[in-house]
Structure formats: structure tokens, C-alpha cells
């Protein structure tokens, strides 16, 4: 087994996941929150690919491809919602989009 060890894959994955998590929790602009979510999804993909390489099993890579497809679909809906909110001339601030709260 040559190349980058699994440890570094996981470190990168954790790092990106942490960045994404902080982004989702800190940001209020829905566009940036979507970006952060995308970051978290791709960090998971890196972990999957890393494990797939470690165990010489392509299942993880296939799963990463599926996650990408799902992420694409999610972005379409998320952006659609953002555009819809924008066309209502409302502020792009998720803390103010809370009319369903208890």
C-alpha cells in the first residue's frame, strides 16, 4: 500500500466537516449555508473514497458518486428556495425566515 495513508484522508475529511459545520451554524445567508452544507457532504465523500482505497473496495467510490448526485439535487431545490425568497423581496437572512416557529 503506497501513497497517502488513510489517516490524512480522515484528517482532511474531519477538517472540512468542521468548517462546514461552523459555516452552517454561524452564517445567516442561505446561499452561504448551502455552500457550507455542500462542504460537509464532500468531506463525507473524501472519507468514503479514503476507506474505499484502504480496503480495495469500490463500494465507497460508488457511494460517493451517489452522494454527489443527491447533493446536486439538493442544491437545485435549495437555490430554488433562495430565488423564491429573493423574488418576494425579503431579506436573505435565515433567522428572519421563521414564521413556522412555535
Amino acid at each position: 500500500m503506497s501513497g497517502v495513508p488513510l489517516f490524512w484522508y480522515l484528517m482532511l475529511s474531519f477538517g472540512l466537516f468542521g468548517l462546514g459545520l461552523v459555516g452552517v451554524m454561524r452564517r445567516r445567508n442561505p446561499l452561504l449555508m448551502l455552500l457550507a452544507v455542500e462542504l460537509m457532504l464532500n468531506s463525507a465523500n473524501i472519507a468514503l473514497v479514503g476507506f474505499a482505497r484502504q480496503w480495495n473496495n469500490t463500494d465507497g467510490q460508488i457511494f460517493a458518486l451517489v452522494v454527489m448526485a443527491v447533493a446536486a439535487a439538493e442544491v437545485v431545490i435549495g437555490l430554488g428556495l433562495v430565488v423564491a425568497v429573493f423574488r418576494q423581496r425579503l431579506a436573505l437572512n435565515v433567522d428572519e425566515m421563521s414564521s413556522l416557529k412555535g
Partner: protein, 632 residues
């Protein structure tokens, strides 16, 4: 013989009723007429065809059980979906569909001005279907199903004018009393299942002589008779029938003539194998019939509502049939059932013409002298009155005399019941002629009729004419010392019935002619000769009149003994149980839901980062728990 015909006869009225009921809106009147009357007439024609086919068979081959599939199988008990086609059921089918068809044709005109034309025909068709199921059933279970459906249909039709509180009360009363009978029949069926393990008529009758003890057979027959008494309005379960007059007149005709009240007589004849094993129950049946026929006849003499006079006369006539059935004269009972269907339908429909002509007036005080305006109704009612009174030559004469002659031959009890029956025959003539005189002859009522009496058009007149012919000549199918078509026809079901002896025939003939003549003459002397005389006589018989007008206070007793305490108990339970306990539970559930919701709404603060934080905390917490469990 094609037993499938019976299924078609049974299904057609239901099909018509279901189509009418499922029609999305009120269909055109002509369509309602076709869907309402058509299935009935076709059913009647098919029944007639079945009858003709059956005539061609040997009398041993005339009993067919048409089994379609097994419906219920529990342990050894097996219940089939099956119809029993035999002379008895075919005779009942002929009466139900034949008289029913005439009433349906009549109704197309009678109900013309009613808003709920479609509902009327749908419910009538359902009624006829229930009755056909009752008479065609091949086991006690389907008998009870038909029995209960007839009760439901009568409830719907008696309460047809549901805006009128008396109609609703009458419908409720009929239903409750009928359910008492249903309950008794269900218990009887349970006893049969326990003792014999079957509900199939033929198997029960085959096994009964050896399989049922004396006590069991008496219990079963008495319980069945409670059902019969509730349906056939016998004392003390008769009080619903006079109130049932709240329904439209064709409904009364259908309930009284073709369906429902005859079901009790049919039941006793159908299960006569059991009654022959139960002498006490049979005596009870006969005595109940005699008491009923006498009480009802006396009550009918003072009624002021025309339809109530007819209602009490029905109870009285059914009493004759029940008495005959209790004494073992099943052929005579069925014979009277048939002739009664003719002349009672005739009376209701011809009186219905009067009510229709007077735009709904039913009180005898609002009538009088109508013979001049409504000649056709006058003649038709007169024929009906002659027939029910038993004037020689008419239908009622032959059948009633056969019942009385059979009673004369039935031992000491029979002689007593014969006397009661003969006496009541005189009273019957009296009250029926009273009805005739007070409606059609004499002066017009004070203040006129309110509306000008309108003669009826052909859809009402034609069925009345047919029934008039049947009431006049229908009795000739069985003539003492001549021919015995009814008894011959029913022989495969009821066995060879002994014919009353010559002495019984002669005594009955002489007596009945005498009492009918006396009754009719008394009615003529009191009500037709001098218009002021009824009032003078009424002044002298105040106590008797009051007792009769109160209908022997049966209703008062039931109110005091059953209705009142039940209402008090319900009131008590409402106050204590309902408002304290039940409502408390409901309110507690509501406040629990509301309180917990108020507490939990704080969690939904609308900030996405809070949700994310809680989610991540959950994942981390679960992961830590898992790691702790695995590594421990």
C-alpha cells in the same frame, strides 16, 4: 323448476332500490317510476312463472333448496347462503310481489306531489326485498337477517315524514318493539345451535323430534313466537302498529297486507314441525291470537282516525291467523293470510283514495257523505268491508269460517276460542260498517271538507279495481265440501291437513252469518239512520268508551313501567356518569395535549443553528454512548 328464478325475484327489488338510492340527484319522476315499479312487476311475473313450473312437478319434487355457497363454518356449525323454494315460500312470494306490485303502481300517483319521490320508492323496494329474503331463507340465520331488515325498512317508511315528531316517535316505537322480537328469535337460534348444531330448516325439523327435549322445544317455540308476536302485532307487543299509521297510506297497505305483519304467521307455519312438538307453546299462540283478535276488534269500534280503524282491524285479523296457526290449522291460517292481503290492501288503497281526494284529511269527523263525490272509492271500500266482515261469498267469508270451523273441531280450548272468534266477527262487521257509513253516507261534516273531493286517476283506480275483484272472488279457491286448493298446494310443507267436520262447518256458517248480520245492522241503526244517535249513545257509555279510546291502557302501562324508568335512568347517568366521568376524561385528554404543546413550543425557536447544534449534539452523544458500550 328453475330455483335460480327465486334469486332473481329476490334480487330485482334490491337492484331497483339500490339504483334509485345511488342516483346522484333526484331522478326524473318517470325514471323513478320505471325503476321503482318495474322490478316489482317483473318479480311478480317471474314468481308466477315459478309457480306454473312448480305446478308441473310432482308434489314430492316441489321442495328445492338452492344453495350457492357456504357462508360460515365454525366447528360443526355450517351456514349456507341458500334459498328454500317450496309451496309455502312461493305462496308468500306471490302475495308479496303480487299485492306489492299493485301497491307500487298505486303509489306512483298517490305520492306524485311528494318531494321525496325517489326515497319513497327506494325504501319500498328495500322493504319488499327484506320480506322476500325472510320468506325465502333456507335457515334460521337468514330468516333472522330478513326479519331484522324488515324491521329496519318499516322504521324508515313509518318515519318517512321525518319532519313530523309523531312520525319519528312511531318509527322509533316500531323499531324498538321489533327488536324485542328479534332478540327472542336470536336466543331461539342459539338454543337450536347448542341442542342440534344446525340452523338449516330441513335438518332442524328432521332432528327435532329426537334431538330436542320437551323443555328445549317449548323454549324455542315460545321465543320464536315472541318474535312473531312483535312482528305481527299481537298482544302485548301490538302497540306499535296503530302508531305506524303515521307513514304514507301505501306504506300502511304494504305493511298490513303484503309484508311484515304476516311474517309472524308465516314463521309459525314454517316452523310448524316444532310447534307440533310443543303443545303448551301452541296453546299459548292460539290464546294470544284469540285475545288479540278480540281486544283489537273492540278498540276499533271507537277509533276516529280512518287509518287507525284499519290498523286495529289488521291486528284483529292477524289474531285470527295466529289463533288458527296455534290450533294447528296451518292451511286455514295461510288461506286467511292471502285473502286478508287482498281485502286489507283494497281497504287501505280505497281509503287512501279518499284521503288523497281530501288532501290528507284522515279523521272520520271530517268525512261523511263522500259517497256522492267519490263513487269509485265508495264501491271499492264497500267491497272491502263486505269481504273483511265475512259476508257470504266474499273472500273473508270462506277463510274466516275455515279458521272458526277448525277451532270448533280443536277440543275444549278450540270451542272457547271459537266463541271468541265468532263474537269478534260480529264486532268486525260492526266497526267496518261504521267506517263505511261514517265516511260515505250521512250528511257532510260541519264546515264542509276543506277542499273539494277529487276523484282519483287510473294509476290509483286500476290496482284498487284488481284488488276489489280479488276480494270478491278470491275466496272461491277453497270451498268447504267442494275443493281445497290451498291445503292441497301446501301439502308438501304442512302435511295433509284435516278438513273441519260437517257439524263444525254448519254451526260456524250459521253463527257467522247471524253475527255479521247483527253487527252490520247495529252499525246501520246507530250510524246511518239518525245522525244524532251516536252522540246520544256515547253519553251513556262513558267509562267503556274511555277504556276503549285508551286502547286498554297498554301504552300507559308501558310508559309507566318501561319508558319512564328508562328515561329516569338515562337522565341520572347523564348527570352523574356523562358530565362527571366521561366528559372529565375527554377534557383531561384535551388539557394534557394543550399543556404539553405549550411546554414543547419553546424548542421550536426558528433558529437553524439551534437545530443544527441539537442534531450534532445528538449524533455526538449517540456516538459516545456507542463507543462506551463497545469498549466496556
Amino acid at each position: 323448476m328453475e330455483p335460480a328464478l327465486a334469486w332473481i325475484v329476490l334480487g330485482l327489488p334490491l337492484l331497483g332500490a339500490a339504483t334509485l338510492a345511488a342516483w346522484p340527484s333526484e331522478p326524473p319522476r318517470s325514471m323513478t317510476r320505471v325503476l321503482g315499479v318495474g322490478p316489482m312487476v317483473v318479480s311478480f311475473l317471474l314468481t308466477a312463472w315459478l309457480y306454473v313450473q312448480m305446478l308441473g312437478e310432482n308434489s314430492d319434487d316441489r321442495l328445492v333448496v338452492s344453495r350457492v355457497w357456504e357462508w360460515i363454518e365454525i366447528g360443526d356449525l355450517s351456514i349456507d347462503v341458500a334459498l328454500q323454494v317450496d309451496p309455502l315460500s312461493v305462496m308468500m312470494m306471490l302475495v308479496v310481489t303480487g299485492v306489492g306490485s299493485l301497491i307500487f303502481i298505486y303509489s306512483t300517483e298517490y305520492m306524485e306531489h311528494d318531494r321525496d319521490y325517489r326515497r319513497f320508492f327506494a325504501e319500498m323496494g328495500f322493504f319488499v326485498f327484506s320480506m322476500l329474503l325472510l320468506v325465502l331463507a333456507a335457515n334460521f340465520l337468514f330468516l333472522i337477517v330478513g326479519w331484522a331488515l324488515v324491521g329496519l325498512a318499516s322504521y324508515l317508511l313509518i318515519g318517512f315524514y321525518y319532519e313530523k315528531p309523531p312520525a319519528v316517535a312511531a318509527a322509533k316505537k316500531a323499531f324498538i318493539i321489533n327488536v324485542i322480537g328479534d332478540l327472542a328469535m336470536v336466543i331461539a337460534a342459539f338454543i337450536l345451535v347448542v341442542e342440534l348444531g344446525t340452523l338449516n330448516y330441513l335438518l332442524v325439523f328432521e332432528a327435532a323430534p329426537d334431538g330436542l327435549g320437551r323443555g328445549a322445544v317449548e323454549a324455542v317455540t315460545i321465543l320464536l313466537f315472541v318474535g312473531a308476536a312483535a312482528k305481527s302485532a299481537q298482544v302485548p307487543l301490538h302497540t306499535w302498529l296503530p302508531d305506524a299509521m303515521e307513514g304514507p297510506t301505501p306504506v300502511s297497505a304494504l305493511i298490513h297486507a303484503a309484508t311484515m305483519v304476516t311474517a309472524g304467521v308465516y314463521l309459525i307455519v314454517r316452523t310448524h314441525e316444532l310447534y307440533e312438538l310443543a303443545p303448551y307453546a301452541s296453546d299459548l299462540v292460539a290464546i294470544t291470537g284469540a285475545v288479540t283478535l278480540f281486544l283489537a276488534a273492540t278498540i276499533a269500534t271507537v277509533q276516529v282516525d280512518v287509518k287507525r280503524v284499519l290498523a286495529w282491524s289488521t291486528i284483529s285479523q292477524i289474531g285470527y291467523m295466529i289463533m288458527a296457526a296455534g290450533l294447528g290449522a296451518y292451511g286455514a291460517a295461510m288461506y286467511h293470510l292471502m285473502t286478508h292481503a287482498f281485502f286489507k290492501a283494497l281497504l287501505f288503497l280505497s281509503i287512501g283514495m279518499v284521503i288523497h281526494g281530501l288532501a290528507g284529511a284522515q279523521s272520520l269527523d271530517r268525512m261523511g257523505g263522500l259517497g256522492r263525490h267519490l263513487k269509485f272509492a265508495y264501491v271499492a271500500t264497500a267491497i272491502g268491508v263486505l269481504a273483511i266482515s265475512g259476508v257470504p261469498g266474499t273472500a273473508g267469508f270462506f277463510s274466516k269460517d275455515e279458521i272458526l270451523a277448525s277451532a270448533w273441531d280443536a277440543g275444549d280450548l278450540g270451542r272457547v276460542l271459537w266463541l271468541v272468534g265468532a263474537l269478534a266477527a260480529g264486532i268486525t262487521a260492526f266497526y267496518m260498517f261504521r267506517l263505511l257509513f261514517r265516511t260515505f253516507s250521512g250528511p257532510e261534516p260541519e264546515g264542509g271538507y276543506g277542499v273539494h273531493p277529487q276523484p282519483s286517476r287510473w294509476p290509483m283506480a286500476a290496482p284498487v279495481a284488481v284488488l276489489a275483484v280479488l276480494s270478491l272472488w278470491g275466496g272461491w279457491i277453497q270451498v268447504p265440501r267442494g275443493w281445497t286448493w290451498i291445503i292441497d298446494w301446501l301439502e308438501p310443507v304442512i302435511g295433509r291437513e284435516s278438513i273441519p267436520g260437517q257439524q263444525a262447518e254448519l254451526v260456524t256458517l250459521a253463527t257467522s252469518i247471524a253475527v255479521v248480520a247483527i253487527g252490520a245492522a247495529a252499525a246501520w241503526w246507530i250510524f246511518a239512520v239518525d245522525p244524532a244517535r251516536p252522540k246520544r249513545l256515547a253519553g251513556r257509555l262513558v267509562a267503556t268508551r274511555r277504556l276503549l279510546e285508551d286502547q286498554f291502557r297498554f301504552d300507559h302501562v308501558y310508559d309507566r313501567a318501561v319508558v319512564g324508568p328508562t328515561r329516569d335512568l338515562a337522565e341520572y347517568l347523564y348527570r352523574r356518569m356523562e358530565s362527571g366521568f366521561v366528559d372529565g376524561l375527554v377534557r383531561g385528554a384535551i388539557s394534557l395535549a394543550r399543556g404539553s404543546a405549550m411546554g414543547l413550543r419553546a424548542a421550536q425557536n426558528g433558529l437553524v443553528r439551534t437545530y443544527v447544534f441539537v442534531m450534532i449534539s445528538g449524533v455526538v452523544g449517540l456516538g459516545a454512548l456507542l463507543a462506551w458500550v463497545v469498549t466496556r
